[in-house]
């Protein structure tokens, strides 16, 4: 047992912290208010190597471990979860999926620019009528011999407009149920793709969320990842890892809100003393700190298991579930501790509270995580 980070892990944490505290902070309120995509930051983070953090250097990635990824996600999310979700989708869903399951040619063509962060990727699983129940895919990828013909609509797609590479989950053999599903690498500029308007969201407003429509889009056969019918398994495997990213994002929202609350509670005075010296506030802070620390341990444990090549699905579901619930709770308390000031944009915590809500919903809702955890616990597979 060893709770120490390596020198490199600490350096990455520091680099992410420096970038977040110096750069992301500058325009985070404005981008949230007007739903502006963080183009400059995505480019800068790509240059620093954050967009393909865990991809092997052989494919132009940074070759870092999942523990470093958790540390980086936490630091960036303390300031701006909208930017960190862009990073999370590109890293742990798109790059990971291609690197782990793609062919050498697919990696050469698609993974390299994604790992360098020159292009962003998107993961297209959810549909208007297939969210938690991802097996009921209505989007079809009809087998036409040497190509697939793609038709259907995907919903709520992060990086939906900005991505150049789509990983699309679609049904090829409806009679086989989820065993008939495939996953295809699709160029964003293929004829027949149209992107819906930017979603006007409650939180994560600076991230780019769209629906994406496919009408007779031709996708070459060599763009399928894995065997025929591997798509659903691909999605589930990839999401197992993706959850670590979102868990770390939720952790960052919670720990960022806690840091702000501690600072504020030591400054703000009521009834002749700092509010931190009122026990009601001090105990609230203690409660928040314990939860943040728990969430951090769950995230790091899941990341460590993944780095050791051990099964981590159960651990990542726990981390995602607990960190998301903690993020919601801690950010809500942070607003409470800030009083009226917490309710206005200038003090950041109201945005964090709105952002935190999404961590309980995407990449598997909290209820879905409870299903994953309880099934494993009860040996119900």
């Amino acid at each position: 047992m060893n709770f120490e980070f390596t020198g490199e892990q600490l350096m990455i944490q520091q680099a992410a912290r420096d970038y977040a505290q110096r750069e992301l902070i500058q325009d985070v309120i404005e981008r949230d208010t007007h739903s502006i995509y963080p183009e400059r930051h995505v480019k800068a983070l790509a240059e620093l190597g954050f967009m393909g953090m865990m991809v092997s250097p052989e494919y132009d990635g940074s070759g870092m471990d999942t523990v470093s990824y958790v540390l980086a996600m936490e630091e960036l999310s303390k300031v701006d979860a909208s930017t960190s979700v862009i990073m999370s989708v590109n890293n742990s869903l798109v790059c990971y999926g291609i690197e782990e399951f793609g062919t050498a040619e697919q990696k050469e063509k698609y993974l390299r620019p994604l790992a360098r962060g020159e292009k962003m990727g998107a993961f297209l699983l959810s549909e208007p009528e297939a969210g938690s129940d991802a097996t009921s895919q209505k989007t079809t990828a009809e087998d036409k011999g040497d190509y697939y013909l793609l038709n259907g609509t995907k919903n709520w797609i992060t990086n939906g407009n900005t991505a150049k590479t789509y990983l699309v989950i679609a049904q090829t053999h409806p009679e086989k149920g989820h065993r008939g599903i495939n996953v295809l690498l699709v160029d964003r500029n293929s004829p027949g793709i149209s992107v819906g308007p930017h979603e006007d969201k409650m939180g994560m407003r600076s991230s780019d969320t769209h629906s994406v429509m496919f009408t007779d889009v031709i996708v070459p056969k060599e763009n399928r990842i894995g065997e025929d019918g591997f798509g659903f398994k691909f999605a589930m495997k990839t999401l197992e890892g993706g959850r670590i990213g979102i868990a770390a994002q939720a952790l960052g929202l919670a720990s960022g809100a806690l840091e702000r609350s501690v600072k504020y509670a030591l400054e703000r005075k009521t009834f002749g003393k700092e509010i931190a010296k009122h026990q009601a506030i001090a105990f609230k802070l203690a409660e928040m700190a314990v939860k943040v620390e728990n969430a951090r341990h769950l995230c790091l444990k899941a990341a460590w298991l993944k780095d050791q090549g051990k099964p981590y699905g159960y651990a990542s579901a726990m981390a995602k579930y607990y960190a998301a619930e903690t993020a919601m709770e801690v950010t809500t308390q942070a607003v409470q501790i800030h009083g009226g000031y917490g309710y206005v944009k200038e003090y950041h915590v109201e945005r964090m509270m709105r952002d935190a809500k999404l961590t309980q919903i995407y990449e598997g809702t909290s209820e879905i995580q409870q299903i994953v955890i309880s099934r494993e616990l009860l040996h119900l597979h």
Binding site: E8, M11, Q14, A15, D18, E47, M53, P57, S62, M64
Partner: protein
């Protein structure tokens, strides 16, 4: 051109400083260590010049024990090519300069750059002492460094204005804010390559401190700020008179 950047390992600038009993020593438990901010700016400028092609090699040097190695690795990750650690605990500015001078006697360099002060002891001394010990010219209060035709073009701040100077090489610059704007954040490629960059450890010269610290005293707590509505100028005048007593 080969540049040496002197870096100091200092507590993070947001550290809440505590003293050991007796108030003669700082209690460093739990402190996060960073590159001295002025040195970090100096290093950033050296890296910028290297990227522009006018500097060939950047070596960072520090006088410290092995626990400063994370800070040295960070400098390497940010873009320095090599590092030297002079294995000694610097006891005061004179001793630090002496250690640096001894180590640098064996090095090939054109320019040495020092930050104007370290953010922990704020002595403003090492740069000047080092130049004298090395018997090389030095320029202080440097706010800008360009290199053209292998010659440094140096801008320094003087009272109410700026001065441009040149210097005979090898020389030493004592740099301050303005030398670079935003300190370099190491990229992951940099972090990876720092693993294999050379870090040389040389034995230091021990020495007595010429200075004795008798007592530390924390600054008085800042009094709280009073915000007065911009419409309410009468109240402002009143308080400036009765409370602040400045008018």
């Amino acid at each position: 051109m080969n540049i040496i950047v002197c870096i100091s390992n200092v507590p993070d600038t947001t550290t809440r400083i505590k003293y050991k009993p007796g108030n003669k020593d700082v209690d460093y438990t739990g402190v996060q260590w960073i590159i001295n901010p002025w040195d970090e700016l100096a290093l950033t400028r050296a890296i910028e010049l290297k990227e522009a092609g006018t500097v060939k090699k950047i070596t960072v040097i520090t006088v410290a024990k092995a626990d400063a190695e994370p800070t040295i690795r960070k400098a390497l990750a940010s873009g320095a090519d090599e590092a030297i650690r002079v294995d000694a605990s610097p006891v005061d500015a004179w001793n630090t300069a002496l250690n640096l001078a001894e180590a640098l006697k064996n090095e090939q360099f054109d320019l040495v750059i020092c930050g104007v002060e370290s953010s922990d002891y704020n002595n403003w001394s090492v740069g000047g002492m080092l130049a004298e010990m090395l018997r090389i010219p030095s320029v202080s209060a440097v706010t800008s460094l360009q290199i053209e035709n292998s010659k440094p073009i140096i801008t320094r701040e003087v009272d109410g204005g700026r001065q441009q100077v040149s210097i005979k090489l090898p020389g030493l610059l004592i740099v301050q804010k303005g030398i670079a704007i935003v300190p370099r954040i190491p990229s992951m490629r940099g972090i990876m390559s720092a693993r294999t960059k050379p870090l040389k450890v040389v034995t230091g010269v021990s020495g007595e401190s010429l200075i004795e610290i008798v007592d530390y005293e924390a600054p008085p707590q800042k009094s709280s700020c009073k915000i007065i509505d911009s419409e309410n100028l009468e109240m402002l005048a009143e308080l400036l008179h009765t409370e602040a007593r400045v008018i």
